[in-house]
Amino acid sequence: MHSGRQAGYTFMALGLFFLGIYLLSAYGNHYYQRVGNLMMIYVILTVSLNLSSGIMGISSLGQIGFMAIGAYVAAILTLPPGLKERWLTGLPHWMHSIQTGLLPAMLLAGLLAAVVAFLVGIVILRLQGVFAAVATLGFLIIVKVIAENWMTVTRGGRGLSALPAYTNLWWTSTAAVVTIYAVWRILKSPHGRSMIAVREHDLAAQSVGINAPKIRLLAFVISAFFTGIAGALWANLIGVVSPGSFYLWLTLLIIIMMVVGGMGSVTGSVISAVGFTILLELLRGFENKIAMYGISYIIFAVVFLLMIIFRPEGIMGDREFSWRNVRRIIPLP
């Protein structure tokens, strides 16, 4: 198919998507907006996790640690100055009077997460398999412990509250689109191929000149960047960040989304993040109807088990969406 036409389809789809976003933010109720926001944040988290775990093959249980870093950075930056002065006595003075908007907070959040990922990655990425998994889990726990104990900067277990509710659907959806685009482009570039090659056989990859540690670090850092941004969006959506929010449940949730979508497939991650957000809301509705609290997670676990048993490679495997395939099913102009 002509590549110009494909681009045309893509722009049309994007147009429709943002039209939907417009309708939802103008006419949708708060509840749907909130679900929409969370959905977009999950999309960012899942797609960026897929870059480091699915595509690059790093078994990481620590991804949410980067989200926590992003969230705290954004929280500290956007916290009203008066509160900052009262609560965060450990910050340097000049920071007390600063209160940024969402965009700078987001970028700095992503950047700091990336820097931390770089430092942590140099150490941790030398490990493989379960060893990498437990070391990254360790990273997550270290982040949590620091957040709990560094009273004068994070306010400890109480967390930072009263954050301005900057985040809205426009921000989250734009960030999601940018993340998807970037990861997609990386996947389709020599870097992406090198990542997969290293994942499949790191020694063989080195034998054709790929610097395996470097490419792993690259994937890890980029992935942390977007995850940090998701953290910033989350912080200014929920309005309170606390150490317990960025822990194992969220870790589990996004890994499940990634695996069910298909490790290595950006399309799969998007489908699965959207699908699971909706599924969890529906299940909660059901749970409320029968008033058996906890049943929604039980069903969720069973759904996941069935998916993984009957489609171990996930919804998309490592295949991707293409207009060509769509045309095969629906006749497009």
Partner: protein, 299 residues
């Protein structure tokens, strides 16, 4: 209290914490070494075993009968778990099985909350064992002494079992190459189920001792021990049974001595220190302390 007495008391505290960690870890390492499966539901087997013991005891069974039956129930639950959740996934990617075990955790914990209610219940089954034994100025808890002995006995027995018996070697063979084990005629299901059963029995036993130490049980109680065991197993060298025990003790000692030696303001950072220690150990020995001696992949 003199400073030597202080040190020895902390040493005993560390030993006692280490042994319960070691005991939890052995079962986890056993299942891992066979299936390359980190069974996060191991902690929930502990929980199920403990609830079973308590319910049977409350139903009027004698203590020891209740304990035996409860441990057996956790073993059987392990078998069911393998049959329903892990067998269909056999041979698939590590990430998939890891996640599956997380899903099993979600399933069991939420199920337990629905079934038993979310509240903590006292667990005083072993209270008839006098709590402490005083040696000079030192205090040794009897339950802990029992735990140490039990841990070492289990360690020796399993190590011999894995090394010497045909079933033990078969387990390692299955761990090594699933397809090849089928080709040489290892009865896969039997071997894996045995491994799961033994590992789950250990979980039941560890659950009993863990709950007796804490004096209480609750539906989410399995989570902390399994994370600790996971860490201990990695420190020791995943899959190695003696490694599991060493890892358990390293973890116990690290936790106790961080608290014992650090000023109170830093005590909160205990878990962070423990993980920094873990990462350092792994950088020096990427396979853990006793992990299969860095066998290079032949290419």
């Amino acid at each position: 209290m003199s400073s030597t007495a202080y040190f020895f008391q902390q040493f005993i505290n560390a030993l006692s914490l280490g042994s319960i960690y070691a005991l939890v870890t052995i079962g986890l390492a056993m299942v891992f070494s066979i299936l390359r499966l980190i069974n996060f539901a191991h902690g929930d087997l502990m929980m199920i075993g403990s609830y079973a013991i308590l319910m049977l005891f409350n139903a009027g069974l004698p203590v020891w009968t209740a304990i035996l039956a409860g441990v057996a129930i956790s073993g059987i639950t392990g078998i069911i778990m393998e049959r329903l959740c892990y067998r269909p996934l056999r041979g698939s990617a590590e990430m998939n099985t890891l996640l599956t075990s997380f899903a099993v955790v979600v399933l069991l914990e939420n199920g337990a909350v629905l079934f038993f209610g979310p509240n903590t219940q006292p667990f005083g089954i072993l209270n008839f064992i006098q709590p402490t034994l005083a040696v000079g100025s030192l205090l040794i808890s009897k339950i802990d002494a029992i735990t140490v002995v039990l841990t070492l006995a289990i360690l020796i027995l399993t190590a011999l079992f894995i090394k010497k018996t045909t079933l033990g070697i078969s387990m390692r063979a299955v761990a090594d190459d699933l397809t090849a084990s089928q080709l040489v005629g290892i009865p896969l299901n039997r071997v894996i189920v045995s491994a799961f059963f033994i590992g789950s029995l250990f979980a039941g036993l560890a659950g009993l001792l863990w709950s007796a130490r804490a004096g209480k049980i609750f539906p989410l109680m399995g989570f902390i021990p399994v994370v600790k065991a996971f860490v201990a197993a990695v420190i020791g060298g995943f899959g190695s049974i003696p490694g599991a025990v060493i890892g358990g003790y390293v973890l116990g000692f690290a936790e106790v001595f961080f608290v014992a030696l650090l000023p109170p303001d830093f005590q909160g950072y205990r878990d962070a220190f423990v993980f920094v220690l873990l990462i350092i150990i792994l950088l020096v020995r990427p396979q853990g302390i006793l992990g299969a001696k860095a066998m290079e992949r032949r290419i």
